[in-house]
Amino acid sequence: MRSVRVLVPLMALALSTTACSVIGGDSSSEKPASDRVVLVTHESFALPKELTRKFEKESGYDLVVRASGDAGALTNKLVLTKDDPLGDVSFGVDNTFASRALDEGVFAPYAAALPDGADRFVLAGDDGKTLAPVDSASVCVNVDDAWFADKGVAPPTTLDDLVKPAYRGLFVTSGAATSSPGMAFLLATIARYGDDWPAYWTRLMANGTQLTDGWSDAYQVDFTQGGGKGKRPIVLSYDSSPAFTVGDDGTSTTSALLDTCFRQVEYAGVLAGADNPQGAKALVDFLLSPEVQAALPDSMYVFPVDSSVELPADWSAFAKQPTDPWQVDPADIAEHRDEWLREWSDVTSR
């Protein structure tokens, strides 16, 4: 009798370990390596379920997605595990990290057939032999047009403008050391000012620029058009961001300054030492297929590399891509990243 009462909680515990836990749940039955293809990617990876199912059906492989961390963490993970890769194929290494991955021999050669217009995104020095460009998104300074119209002030247009007294205390950006767009912005200023970039940053900080940890803090909290209705009308964001601030009247309240942009391109490639190289290649091709390319804007907030794909209505109306963004040679980035970030940290925390 008594022991029965003791047993009840124990049974509850046992039950909880079977029904309500990960262990107890029916874990996806592990298939042999040749029947599945493992995609190693970053946290932001997302595609509609129908598309991934379609891939599985057509290719005959089970798709296993291992998504974690940001592009930097992803790259360094791939480098650290290159002798025993985490999967068969990777998506998400961008042009600021790609050189390091290539230098370390993370990827195996695979020259995928690229869609129309993708040629302009291939990585300099690789030329599409290893990494296939999948999407691009440019990091640009965004302004709140409504705010400037309201104040009767002309919004800035160039990097030079940001250090002018007229825009004092109006700019918020995420830090280069802690965020990928922040790093891209630093690269844009390096491309624009060359070795004088620290002087520019000194003036930028002196002009009341606010630094935040990540993009969400800058945009959602401090930007006047962000979710939190902040106080700063100039923010570092993406070229696609104006498509998300369309008001009831059908016009966007913000715009991207196309002279301030640095383009980030994300690549996919077959991992060296993959268990299933055939599946990996199939997945790279899949990412370049028209259906996936068309789904990219809504799923991952990026532009497809395929120029023939039709963009969502808001995107074609308000998300303008820069024609001639600032560029830094990927090899230079790999070589100087450490040094630039240290100097940047010194300048901004002074």
């Binding site: 874990s27 974690s68 360094n76 630094l211 945009y219 959602q220 902040g230 970030l341």
Partner: protein
């Protein structure tokens, strides 16, 4: 000798888990730093330690963690008195709500804090944003619940008679507290403080978000060095600093925690109602309420904002997937994933923690035995003090070969979370277990009760509440854990914090609103679960 063997036998399972999931990965990462191109080269590591920036980082980490701990203890101890030794309406709800910060992803808390103290926020005039003060407030926000829970649990079972005796001898309430209550609570307070210190010293998001990038702690520096720069030498150097500092901390706290007679008399007295003399507790609870409540209120308000008006649109969007399918999965699925992971992490942390607590609190017969126990005690605290990044990368490079080919395992996430929760569980259980008079166990054994029966008769009645508290902690840690979870491989089923992170990381008023709404759902779920756990009573368990 036989006793030491038995001791090691009892500790074998936790030790094995710790060895595989902590010692192995961390030493793997450290050796990456020390061995450059296959050659042992400690020079680079030593070099990092002499950089002025490194010293600045270490200094900031120490003082901010110390400040965060101090504030947490100063607020937490009086609040624990009110919440655990006094009776008033809504006490249970309040206790459950105070655990909510634990589960909120830092990115959301950062946003919530900055909505309050940022230049556009209602408290913007304080100029708090980006200051060290904001960091300390953030640290206290996350950790005050630890102090309240751990100290409260000890306080609840404290015999009130010595205090009454002191009062009868003419001691004022303050004197009673200082001379009788505080010494009795010291093990619990020191325990809680050491855990909080570790949490503070390894806080990541709070320092970055609230410090406006002006401050770097060891943890943020390791993150930057490892994930961004792949400078493993420097990361290894800082990891060594972390390990050394934590070891020093553990040695100091184990000294402070020791008391001449840890035996606590258990009481079943009904707590009295709140009276005028409880003003310190009331004041502290109000302050904690403000500290914890304001950011949460900011979240709730934000989640109810739709366009320029108010409504439940953001919550409705959570079930439908939102415009443009912003959600990776329906939020209900993510919630289920989170809860299931949390159940796993909780039972893992509880069973490991209980074993460890039993091992470290049993009376030692020899000095060698005592030393072994002390060593084990400290060993299980270490995971809390080592960077999640080091651990995460370590998993990837060490757990890749059979029989330990675990890096793709679904269990990795709950295990990592259980390791984070383990020190909390041990620190909650150990004071209660240590407070049991060993002769009670001997009396039971001499009457014919085996070890399990003895445990059920003597320890469980005392342990029941601390066990619940520990379960609550472990559950909350797991629900809110983001660092390890986001770092380790996930399947197609993301947890709530990851969904929230995904939402808030993209532009669009809808995404922002949904992120806040999802945070509120996560917080509410936690509060409800905690409340249910507190209500759960199994009287027969202790009545055998």
């Amino acid at each position: 000798m036989r006793r030491i063997l038995a001791l090691v036998g009892l500790a074998a399972v936790p030790l094995a888990v710790l060895g595989v999931f902590f010692v192995l990965p961390v030493s793997g990462m450290l050796s990456e730093g020390f061995w450059v191109d296959g050659r042992f080269d400690p020079g680079a590591v030593a070099d990092v330690l002499t950089r002025p920036r490194t010293l600045r980082v270490i200094w900031f980490t120490l003082w901010s963690a110390l400040a965060g701990t101090t504030v947490s203890v100063l607020l937490g101890v009086p609040a624990a008195h009110l919440l655990h030794r006094r009776r008033f309406h809504g006490r249970g709800v309040l206790r459950a709500l105070l655990l909510v910060p634990f589960v909120l992803p830092t990115v959301v808390v950062g946003v919530a804090f900055r909505e309050l103290i940022g230049e556009a926020g209602p408290l913007g005039f304080l100029g708090f944003d980006g200051s060290a003060g904001a960091i300390v407030a953030g640290l206290a926000f996350f950790n005050v619940a630890v102090v309240i829970r751990a100290v409260g649990a000890a306080w609840e079972s404290l015999d009130p008679r010595p205090a009454e005796a002191a009062a009868a001898l003419g001691a004022s309430p303050a004197q009673v507290f200082r001379t009788v209550t505080l010494p009795a609570l010291r093990p619990a307070i020191v325990s809680a403080a050491s855990v909080v210190f570790l949490f503070c010293a390894t806080a990541f998001g709070v320092v970055l978000t609230l410090g406006g990038l002006r401050y770097s702690s060891i943890e943020t520096e390791i993150y930057l060095l490892t994930t961004n720069l792949l400078d493993l030498q420097a990361a290894a150097a800082l990891s060594i600093v972390q390990l050394v500092a934590i070891t020093a901390l553990l040695v100091v706290t184990s000294r402070l925690r020791a008391v001449a007679d840890p035996r606590l008399a258990r009481t079943t007295a009904r707590p009295p109602r709140v009276s005028v003399g409880d003003w310190p507790g009331v004041l502290a609870t109000v302050l904690v309420g403000v500290l914890v409540g304001l950011p949460i209120a900011a979240l709730v308000v934000g989640s109810l904002q739709v366009g320029d008006g108010w409504g439940l649109g953001n919550y409705r969007a959570l079930t439908t997937g939102g415009s443009r399918d912003a959600l990776l999965v329906p939020v209900t699925d993510a919630l289920v994933t989170s809860l299931r992971t949390a159940v796993d992490a909780t039972w893992m942390a509880l069973s490991l923690g209980l074993l460890v607590a039993v091992v470290v609190t049993r009376r030692s017969h020899t000095r060698a035995e005592r030393r072994v126990r002390g060593l084990l005690d400290g060993l299980f605290m270490l995971p809390l003090g080592v960077s999640a990044v080091t651990l995460g990368f370590g998993f990837l490079i060490t757990l890749d070969e059979p029989p330990l080919d675990l890096r793709d395992s679904l269990l990795l996430v709950p295990i990592a979370q259980a390791l984070v929760a383990l020190p909390l569980v041990v620190r909650t259980l150990a004071p209660a277990l240590g407070g049991v008079d060993d002769r009670q166990r001997q009396a039971a054994a001499s009457l014919g009760a085996g070890p399990l029966r003895t445990f059920a008769t003597v320890d469980l009645p005392v342990m029941w509440k601390p066990l619940l508290a520990a379960a609550g902690f472990a559950f909350a840690v797991s629900l809110g854990e983001f660092g390890a979870t986001s770092f380790l491989a996930r399947d197609e089923s993301p947890t709530m914090p990851i969904v929230i992170f995904h939402l808030i990381g993209h532009p669009g008023a809808m995404n922002y609103g949904m992120a806040l709404a999802a945070s509120v759902v996560l917080a509410a779920t936690t509060a409800v679960v905690m409340l249910a756990v507190e209500r759960l009573r199994v009287p027969s368990l202790g009545a055998f």
